[in-house]
């Protein structure tokens, strides 16, 4: 194939650039094990989706189209409207996170729409993961977002529009303050007695 020699050359280019332009970050291999990954190999596996959507593939789908996919592929586990279960509820719960009975769903809890696409694409449907086309994943993602009233029914989800969807709980996450409990030593003065 005509591309192979070109790719082999291209593989060395970053090293040359790194060695000349970025001496601080140039790290030459000590062990030299393994072989270079080809662009084709990388492309075939590179499907975890950055929140900015950079790895999203071509394709498109609306909620109207997604309703059919959902009924066929998802409803058995997630319920007819995404609320009935038996598995994770996908719809509803907005406004419940600070109550005694929080309901965590895609609509109420998930901070990024790209995660919905990514998770459906990599893991769903449970009995046949990775079997849906990109169009189907866009469509069913659009359907779940639309059931949650985050997008309109006729809004097409694709590599450009999906990362722009602002999820209701986008700002609902905070850092890790642990250890966050009071020391039991301070409340138990009899500790040292005996």
């Amino acid at each position: 194939m005509w591309r192979t020699p070109l790719l082999k050359t291209a593989w060395f280019l970053p090293i040359l650039i790194a060695a000349v332009v970025l001496p601080t970050y140039a790290q030459s291999p000590t062990y030299g094990l393994g072989r270079p990954a080809s662009l084709e190999e990388i492309k075939a596996w590179d499907d975890a989706i950055h929140p900015d959507g950079r790895e999203l593939p071509p394709g498109s789908g609306t909620a109207v189209e997604g309703a059919k996919v959902y009924a066929a592929q998802c409803a058995a586990c997630h319920g007819k409207t995404g609320t009935e279960g038996p598995n994770d509820k996908l719809v509803g719960g907005q406004g419940t996170l600070n109550t005694k009975k929080p309901m965590k769903t895609v609509g109420s809890f998930w901070p990024y729409a790209t995660t919905v696409w990514d998770y459906i694409n990599r893991s769903m449907p449970f009995n046949k993961p990775g079997s849906m086309t990109a169009d189907e994943v866009y469509a069913v993602t659009a359907y779940v977002l639309s059931l949650n009233k985050i997008i309109r029914e006729d809004e097409a989800m694709n590599a450009k529009t999906l990362p722009q969807v602002k999820m209701p709980n986008r700002d609902g996450f905070i850092g890790d303050p642990r250890p966050d409990w009071e020391s039991p030593h301070s409340r138990a003065p009899e500790t040292s007695k005996q």
């Binding site: 291999p29 030299g32 596996w45 590179d46 990599r122 890790d176 039991p184």
Partner: protein, 408 residues
């Protein structure tokens, strides 16, 4: 098949049989885990010195009189902590947690790809990985959901069995990343497994370059399939889910990818409605494994209270035991070796006077963090969280010697 009343009755009957075996096991006190000791097997010879024993075997098995087993629950199984000696969990008893089953992987065909913000994207075979300088470390692992759901219920295995400790052998991930040449601006990695969930988690680059392993060995042999055969990422001290098993791809990136497992799951909801995210480290925790719920003391007298303590932030410095429900505490003996990010076995000599008592342990790690009582956690976090549960566990010894779970 027709599931008529007779089938149901047979099912119930066998259930009762199992229950009776469990009760019989429990009554044996220390040998409480011999539930599986089958009545159908021939008895051992009266005098083993008078008969030839069995011949050498290819792959060993434990004595047929030992019956401690995991409790499988579909996508997870629980380690019988009450049956463990020392600090190493045998590979056959190491807890499991998977999200799409245990994949069947031919190591000759397995590939690990390193790509993203690196100078030299790499594909490594298992043979390649094993040629790198190796490291061996003893580390505990704990599912971050361990202990919460069944708090106050059942045995130490049922309530806390999603933790184990093993010897792991592999390559430093940082070494492999340096071989690939990490580029400026990189700050995280995304690791992906070869299971049907293609389990994906983001790890800060600083941790990845520090002590993370690509582990292919467990307790002296190849890592078990349910632990990630032929190779898993092992992230010491951090919640179990992040140690992606059956790892096939590591992408060096500039931000966390906000995967389902680090947004929808493995985050802790606070009373304000905000959820803590990227809560990686496992907090200091200890458990008395003997005496513990389901066991029975054979009468007043001497017992060695024994248990396990660990912290995801380092070594255990101190374990205290209370035999009066937390009113007073005394230091337990720490048994060598006391290793960072590993189980530490503690022991405490105790004379039971036959009265009703509540036994507790609490540990302190090298940073001075002490395992809290449940109220302290609820005060800090409310009621809607469910990960990183490390409350002090209470076991009540009744006058008849039966031990029960007494976590309020």
């Amino acid at each position: 098949m027709k599931s008529g009343p007779s089938n149901r009755r047979r099912f119930l009957k066998s259930g009762v049989g199992l229950g009776a075996a469990l009760v019989a096991g429990a009554e044996a006190g220390l040998a409480a885990d011999d539930a599986k000791t089958p009545a159908v097997q021939p008895p051992a010879p009266d005098d083993p010195t008078k008969v030839q024993g069995r011949r050498a075997s290819a792959y060993g098995e434990r004595s047929r009189f030992e019956g401690a087993v995991r409790i499988p629950q579909g996508q997870s199984s629980l380690t019988p902590l009450q049956a463990m000696t020392g600090i190493i969990t045998p590979s056959s008893l190491h807890f499991e947690r998977h999200h799409a089953g245990v994949p069947d992987i031919d190591p000759r065909r397995h590939r690990l790809m390193i790509h993203g913000m690196v100078d030299r994207p790499l594909v490594l075979t298992m043979d390649d990985l094993k040629r790198y300088p190796s490291v061996t470390r003893i580390y505990f692992m704990e599912c971050s959901g361990n202990g919460f759901r069944k708090r106050g219920e059942g045995t130490v295995q049922e309530a806390h069995g999603l933790t184990s400790c093993a010897e792991w052998t592999g390559v430093n991930l940082g070494l492999v990343l340096r071989e690939a040449g990490v580029q400026a601006g990189a700050s995280w990695i995304v690791a992906e497994g070869s299971d049907a969930a293609k389990m994906t988690r983001s790890v800060p680059l600083a941790k990845a370059m520090n002590d993370v392993l690509l582990a292919y060995g467990q307790n002296g042999e190849a890592i078990r399939p349910e632990q990630g055969y032929p190779v898993r990422m092992f992230v010491p001290g951090w919640e179990g889910n992040i140690s992606v098993k059956w790892v096939r791809r590591i992408k060096v990136v500039d931000a966390p990818y906000q995967t389902r497992e680090e947004t929808s799951k493995y985050t802790d909801l606070m009373p304000t409605g905000k959820a803590r995210q990227f809560t990686f480290e496992m907090d200091p925790k200890s458990l008395i494994t003997f005496p513990s719920a389901g066991q029975k003391l054979q009468g007043p007298g001497f017992y060695e209270i024994s248990g396990l303590a660990w912290s995801g932030r380092g070594a255990i410095r101190r374990v205290e035991v209370s035999t009066d429900g937390g009113r007073t505490w005394k230091d337990a003996a720490l048994q060598s070796p006391v290793l960072p990010i590993a189980y530490t076995r503690f022991r405490y000599a105790w004379k039971w006077d036959g009265s009703e008592v509540v036994l507790q342990s609490r540990c302190t790690d090298e940073h001075g963090d002490t395992q809290p009582p449940l109220e302290a956690l609820v005060k800090a976090r409310g009621e809607n969280w469910n990960y990183h549960f490390n409350a002090i566990q209470s076991w009540k010894v009744n006058k008849d010697g039966n031990v029960e779970n007494a976590l309020a």
